[in-house]
Subunit: 354 residues, 5 copies
C-alpha cells in the first residue's frame, strides 16, 4: 500500500532556506536539458553544469531549462545561484511532498505542481512533483526523474508550426501547465473504469475482497483529491496575478486550463460520491445475503425440529404407550407429519420467504 | 449502465485550440439550418456550406444558425473561420463532455450547456451538449445531433406573434437558454415519479433488487447534479456581464431563468435527500425482517429442543429406569411437555415476540 | 404520501410570460376582496371584476386587494392589466410551485411566499402559495383558495387601534408577511410534538412501523426546509432594498420578522438533527433486540443440544453397551446432565448473557 | 425529557409589539433591584415600582437595574415606559425562547442571551434567558427568576477594588456578558465528564441503556449548540458596532470575551464529534458481541448435531443392522465420535473462532 | 485516556485580568533564560528575577527572554510589569488551555501557540502551550515547563552563521514560530504510521480491540485538529498585520510557514478521511465474518437436521412398521441419506456458500 506520509519532519529545526531533499533517493545524476528557440531557430542540447545556464538566461530567444532530478543539493544550489532564486524557492523544489502553489517574486513566478500517472498493475495513482519557474525569457522546469508528459511539447517546439515558437516564455509555461493538467484526465479515466468494474462486480456477486477494493479506491481518491484541489487555486492565482511576466494573450489560455481543473475536480468529487454509494450497495448486499442464509436455516429447522420431536416421542420406551400398539399409528403419524410440513411450507410461502 | 467518463484524455498533448471530437461518433453529415428574420419577414432554409453563413452574419435582420452535429472537424473549422471564432471556442464546442460555462469574447458571448431528456425504458437521464454563440445580429447553436427542445421556439418565430420577432439576437439566445433550462423540469418530474414509486415499493415490500434501484437513482442524481449546478453560475455570470450584446430588457428575463435554475437545483438536492432517506429505510427494513426470521427460528427451536431432549431421555435403553414401568408416566410426560411449551409461549408473549 | 413534484414541465416551450396555472385545479371562481382604509375610515367589500380595482389603485387611503384563487387565467390577466404588472410576475403568481423570492420593479415590489399548516390527521404539512405586490398605496395579495392566516390582520384593521391604520401600504405588507412567518411556528410546534412522541415510542418499544414514521418526518422536514430557507434571503433582500416604497419605520419591523425566520430555520435544523439521531437510536435498538433473540436461542441450544446427544447415545441399540446394564447408570447420567447444564449456566452468567 | 419547543405560536396574529409571555409561568412577583454606584459610593436597594427607576436612569453615577422575572406584563410595560424602550424590545424580553442577538437603537443597545447551568441529577443543561439593555448611564438586566451567575459581579461592585467601579455602564454590561459566557465553561466541563464516563462504559461493557444515554447527550448538544453559536455573532456584532455607548477601552475586553465564545463553540463541536464516534464504537461493539454469540451457537451446534445424527442412526430399530451385533461397535463409535469432535475443534481453532 | 476538557471554569466570576493558572501544577520554580545578541556578540544566562529583564528590554541588540513555567503567578505579574503587558495578556498566558491566536497591542504582538509531541508508548499526542510576545527589540517566550523544540534555534544563534543573528526580533519570532509548526510534521508522521499499521491489521485480521484503536485515533485527530486549524488563521492574521514590528523581509518567510500550516491541515484532514474509511472497512469486515459463521451453522444444520429426523423415524417403537422388517431397509436408508446430503452439498455449491 502507498505510504500516506513522507519524512517532511527531516526539515524540523533547520534554518529556513536550508536544502533538504525529501523524496525517493536516486542514483543517476541530475541532467540539465536546454531547448533554446526563436521563431526561426531551435537548438537542443544537454548542459554540463549549472554554470552553463547563465549565457542563455536572458534573451535573445526563449530558453527552456528542463532539469531531471532534484536530489543533488549542490547542483540545485548552483542553479539557484545562476538564476538568483530565493533560498525558500530552492527549499520547496527539493521537497517533493510540497503542496501545489504559485508564488510571485520580483523577477520570476514560481509554481509547484504534481504530474500524475495511473499504474494499472497496482490500480493506483503515482505522482511526481514538477516545479516551474517562469522568468522574462526563460522557463525552468524541475522534475524528480527522467520521463514526463512533455514529449508532445518538445515535438511541437521542434515542428515549429503553430503558435508556440512565436510566443514568449509565458506561453511555454502555460503549455507545460496544460500538459500537466491534461495528465489527470487519463488518470481519472482509468480510475473511472476500475470503479465501474468494481460496481459491476458488486451488483453481480460481491466477494469479501470487494471491501478492500472499495477501501483502496477511496484511499486513492483521498490522495488524488489532495493533489487536485490546490490546482484550482493555483491557476486562478495565476489569472489574478498582475505580473508583467504574463501577457494578455496567455490570459485567455489560462482561462481554458482553469476550465480543465474545474472539470477534473468535478470528476474527482463524482467518483468519490460513486464510491461512497458503492460502499452502501456492498453493505446492503451483505445484509441481504445474510438474510437469505438465515432464511434457509430457519425454514429447515422450523420444519424438521418439531417433526424430530414427534419421532422422539414414539421412540420412548414406556411400557404403557397405547399408540405403539395400534394398527394405523404409523401411517397416521406420517400423514400428520406431512400435513405439519405442508402447513409450514404454506406459512413460509405466505411470508414470502420461499 | 451509463459510462461515468469519456475519453477526454485523447486531447492530452495536443496544442491548445486543436480540434478533437470527444463524444459519440456519428455517420450523417452536419446540417446548417438558417432562420433569418425581422419583425416583418422570416426565411428558413438549409445552408450548403459554412461559406454561405457569411452574407447573413451581420444584419440587417437577425440570423439563427442552427447546426446539427459537431463531429466533422473541417466543417467546424470553416464555421469558425466564417464567424472569427477563437480556436479555444471551437475546441470546446467539439468536446461534448465540457462543463456548462459562459465566456465573453470581444465580439460574441460563448455558452456551453446541456440539454436533458429522461429515457423511461432505462429510467435514466440522457444529455446532449448544446453550445450557443451570441453575436451582435446572430445566434449560432451547436448540438450533437438532430432533435432538440427548440421546436416551440421555431414555431413562435414562424408565428411572428409575441415579443420574439421584434427583439434582438440576445432575446433569441435567452429564449433558447430558457427552453434548455425548462427541459430539466420534465426530467426531474420523471425522476421524482420513479423515486416515489421506489419509495412505495420499499414501504410495501423491499426486494433484493431494490438496492440496485436505489443505487441507480443515486448515480443518476450525482451525474445530473454535475450538469445542473454550473447552470446557476452560468446564468448569474450572464447577469453580471456588462456586455453591449445584452440589452437591459433581456436582463429582466435572465432573472426569470435564474429563478428556474435555483428551483432545479433545489429539486435535485431534495431528491438526493429523499434517496438517502430511502437507503436508510431500506436498511432498517432489512434488519427488521432479519429480526422476524430469527424470532421464528428462536421460538421454534426454544420450544422443541428441550422437549426433544426429554423425549430422548425416555428413549434410552437403560435396564434400570423405573419411570419406564410406571402406569401414568406417559400421560404425565405429555402433561409436563404441554406445560413447558405453554410456559415458553407465555414467555415469548411477554417479550412481545409473538 | 405527498407528491414530491408538480407539473412545472407544462410550461416548457411556452413563451416567457405565458400564463400557465400550475397547482390544484379548483371549481369556485376567483374572489377579489377590497379593504380600503385611512386612519378614520374603513371600507370592506367584494369587487365584481378586475376593472373595479382601478379607481382604488392610487390613493387617497390604502387599498388591500385580497384575491382568493389564481386558477382563472383571464381574471389574472385583467388584474395584471389594471396594475401594470410585468407578464413574468403574473406567470410566477399562477405557478403555485414557485420558490419564495422578492423582486423589485419600477413601481412595485413582488414577493412569493408559502403559507403553512399542519394537518394532524396525516401528521403532515400543507402549503399554500401567497404572492404579495406592494405598490405606493396598495397591496395585492394572491392565494390559492379562500382561508388563510390573515384574519387577525383584518380584525386589527377593523378595530382601528394600534399602528396599522395610521401607516402606509408597506406596513400592511409587513404585517401580512409577519403573519405568514408566524404560521410556521405553529407548524413546527406540532411537528416537534409528533417527533417527541416518536422519540418516546422508540425509547419505550420500537415497532416495525416506527421506521416509516421516521422516514415520513424526515421527508416532511426536507420539504419544509425547502420552503423555509428562502424566507431568510427574501427578508434580508427586503432589508437591503433601497426602495422608496419601504419607509424607515418599517425597516425596524423587518428586522423583527428576520429574527423570526432565523428562529424558524434554527428549529427546522434542530428537528432534522433530532430525527437523524432517532434513526440511529432505532437502528441500535433493532440490533440490541436481535442480540437478545440470538442469546435466547444460543443459550437454549447450547444447553440442550449436547444433552440430547448424550440421551441419543444411550438410546442406541448396540448389543454390547455395558453401561445399559449397570444399576446406577440412569441416576448418574441425570447427575452428569444436571452438572453440564449448571456449568453452561455459570458460563453464560460469566459472559453476562443472563 | 426536555421539551424541544415552546409555545411561540401563541404570538401568531398579534400586532407587532404586543406583549405575550412565552415561558414558564411563575407565582412570585417581579423584583426590581437597583445598584447605584460611582467610584466613591455604592447604594443597593429594591425598588417598589417601575416608576422609581426614573430618577436613577440618567446620571450622575451608574445604575444597574437588575430585574427578576418577566412574567408580569404590566410591570414590563411600566419599565418600558420609564426607559422609552421600543415595543419590539419588550416583546422580545418576555419571549424567553428568543435566539441570542444584539440590536442597536438610538439611545441604547439591546442584547438577548442565555444563561446555562448543568443539572447533574438529570445530566442535562437548563437555560434561562437574560436580556440586557445598555444605556448611557444605566444597565437593565432581565432574567426569568431569582438566582443567577452575577453574584461575583455584585461582590466586586461592593468591594470597590479593581476597574469596575471606576468605569462606565458599558464596562458593567461587558462584565455581565463575560459572567454569562463563563457559565458555559462549567456546563461544558460537566458534560465532558459525563461523556468521558459514557466512553469508558462503552469500552468496558455497553448495556442496552447505553444507546439512550448517547442519544440523550446528542440531544443536549444539539440544543446547547443552538444557544452557543449565536453568541459569536452577538459579540462580533458588538465589536463592529460603532456606538457612542461603547468606549474603546471596553473594546479590548470584548475581544477577550470573543475568544471565550470561540473556545466554547470549539468545545461544543469537539464533544459532538466525540459523541458521534461513541455511537460508531457502540454499534461496532454490538456487532462484535453478536458475532461472539453466534460463534458459540455455531460451535456447539456444529459439533453436536452430526454426533446426534450418528447416535440416531444406531437408535433405529431395523431388524437387519449388522453393526448392532458386532462386539466393538460401541467403543469404535465413541472413538469415531471423539475424532469427529476433535476435527471440528481443530477446524474452529484454524478459523480462529476459539 | 486523555482528558477532554480542563478546569477553565475556575475563572468564572473572576474580574477580567485576574491571573488564574489553568493547567498541570508543577513543583520547580519558573526559570527566566536570556539570550542577548547582535551580529558580533552573544550572551546567554539565567536571570534571577523579572526585575533583571528591564535593562535588556530595549536595545541595543536583540533579547530573547525564554521563560520555563507559567505556574507562579507572582513571577508572571512581575514580568508583566517589566514589559508593560496588558492584564488580559497575562491572563491568557497562564491559561494553558487557550486557543491559538494572535493579538496586536500598541507596543507588541501577542501570540498563543501549541507545541506538539507524539508519545509512542500511549500512541497519543501531547501538547504544551507556548506564548510569544514580540516587542521592538525583544521576544518573550513562555512555555509550561523546560524542554522544547527550540534547541536548534539556540544552536543557530550560538553559531552565528546564516541570517538569524543579523536580523531583528521579528525574524527571531518567525524562527520560533517555524520550529513550532515543524513540530507537527513529526507528530503527523507518527500518527500516519500508526494508522497505516491499523489499516494493515484490519485488512489482515480485525480483532475486537481494533474498534477501540480506531476510536482512539479518531479522538486524537479531533483534538489535534482543534489545535491545528487556528494556526492558519494565526499566520494569515500575522501576514495581514500592518505592524511596524514586522519587516517586509520577514513577510516572505511568513508565507513559507503559512504553506506549512496548510500542508499540516491537509494532512490532518486526510488522516481523518482515512480513519473514517477504516471504520467502514472494519464494520463490513465484521459483517462478512458474521456471514461466514452463519453459513457454517446453516450448512451443518441443514444437512444433519433432516437426516436426524429420518433416523428418528426408524427409532420409533410402533408395533406395525413394515420397513423395520425388510431386508434392505437399512442399506437403502443409508443410500437415501447420502443422496440427500449430496443434494444439499450441490445446492450450497450452487449458491456459492462453499
Ligand atoms: Mg523551514
Ligand atoms: Mg512525487
Ligand atoms: Mg488542457
Ligand atoms: Mg500525493
Ligand atoms: Mg477549453
Ligand atoms: Mg449513507
Ligand atoms: Mg488543451
Ligand atoms: Mg452529450
Ligand atoms: Mg423557463
Ligand atoms: Mg453528463
Ligand atoms: Mg418566473
Ligand atoms: Mg443516515
Ligand atoms: Mg418561461
Ligand atoms: Mg412545498
Ligand atoms: Mg401550495
Ligand atoms: Mg412574527
Ligand atoms: Mg422580536
Ligand atoms: Mg449518524
Ligand atoms: Mg410579531
Ligand atoms: Mg434553549
Ligand atoms: Mg429559559
Ligand atoms: Mg470570560
Ligand atoms: Mg483572554
Ligand atoms: Mg455510521
Ligand atoms: Mg474573564
Ligand atoms: Mg499543554
Ligand atoms: Mg517550517
Ligand atoms: Mg489541546
Ligand atoms: Mg517552503
Ligand atoms: Mg461515521
Ligand atoms: Mg460512510
Amino acid at each position: 500500500m502507498k505510504k500516506l506520509l513522507h519524512k517532511t519532519s527531516l526539515k524540523a529545526g533547520k534554518a529556513p532556506g536550508t536544502l533538504v531533499h525529501i523524496g525517493k533517493q536516486r542514483a543517476e545524476p541530475i541532467h540539465i536539458n536546454l531547448i533554446h528557440y526563436d521563431p526561426e531557430h531551435l537548438n537542443q542540447r544537454q548542459l554540463a553544469s549549472a554554470e552553463e545556464c547563465r549565457p542563455h538566461r536572458d534573451g535573445p530567444g526563449i530558453s527552456w531549462f528542463d532539469i531531471d532530478g532534484v536530489h543533488q543539493l549542490d547542483v540545485l544550489q548552483d542553479i539557484g545561484a545562476a538564476f538568483d532564486l530565493h533560498p525558500l524557492v530552492l527549499e520547496d523544489i527539493v521537497n517533493t511532498t510540497h503542496r501545489p502553489k504559485v508564488e510571485s517574486f520580483d523577477n520570476y513566478l514560481f509554481m509547484v505542481l504534481k504530474m500524475s500517472q495511473f499504474d494499472s498493475s497496482s490500480a493506483s495513482v503515482t505522482t511526481e512533483q514538477v516545479s516551474l519557474i517562469l522568468g522574462p525569457d526563460y522557463v525552468l522546469s524541475f522534475q524528480e526523474q527522467k520521463g514526463d508528459v512533455f514529449d508532445s511539447v518538445r515535438q511541437r517546439l521542434r515542428n515549429g508550426k503553430g503558435r508556440l515558437r512565436k510566443m514568449g516564455a509565458d506561453y511555454l509555461a502555460y503549455v507545460l501547465l496544460d500538459s500537466l493538467v491534461d495528465s489527470y484526465f487519463a488518470v481519472l479515466e482509468s480510475l473511472g473504469e476500475e470503479i465501474e468494474r468494481l460496481e459491476e462486480d458488486i451488483i453481480a456477486r460481491p466477494t469479501p475482497d470487494t471491501q478492500s477494493r472499495i477501501h483502496h479506491f477511496k484511499r486513492e481518491m483521498i490522495l488524488l483529491r489532495k493533489a487536485v484541489w490546490p490546482l484550482r487555486e493555483l491557476i486562478s492565482g495565476l489569472q489574478r496575478e498582475e505580473s508583467p511576466l504574463l501577457s494578455d494573450t496567455t490570459g485567455i489560455f489560462l482561462r481554458d486550463v482553469y476550465d480543465h481543473t474545474i472539470q477534473i475536480i468535478d470528476t474527482v468529487e463524482t467518483l468519490r460520491d460513486i464510491l461512497s454509494g458503492l460502499l452502501d450497495l456492498y453493505m446492503s448486499s451483505i445484509s441481504n445475503r445474510m438474510n437469505e442464509v438465515m432464511k434457509v436455516l430457519t425454514i429447515i429447522a422450523t420444519i424438521f425440529i418439531p417433526l424430530t420431536f414427534v419421532a422422539g416421542i414414539y421412540g420412548m420406551n414406556f411400557e404403557y404407550m397405547p399408540e405403539l400398539h395400534w394398527r394405523w399409528s404409523y401411517p397416521l403419524l406420517w400423514l400428520g407429519m406431512i400435513l405439519m410440513a405442508g402447513g409450514m411450507f404454506i406459512f413460509f410461502k405466505r411470508k414470502q420467504w420461499l
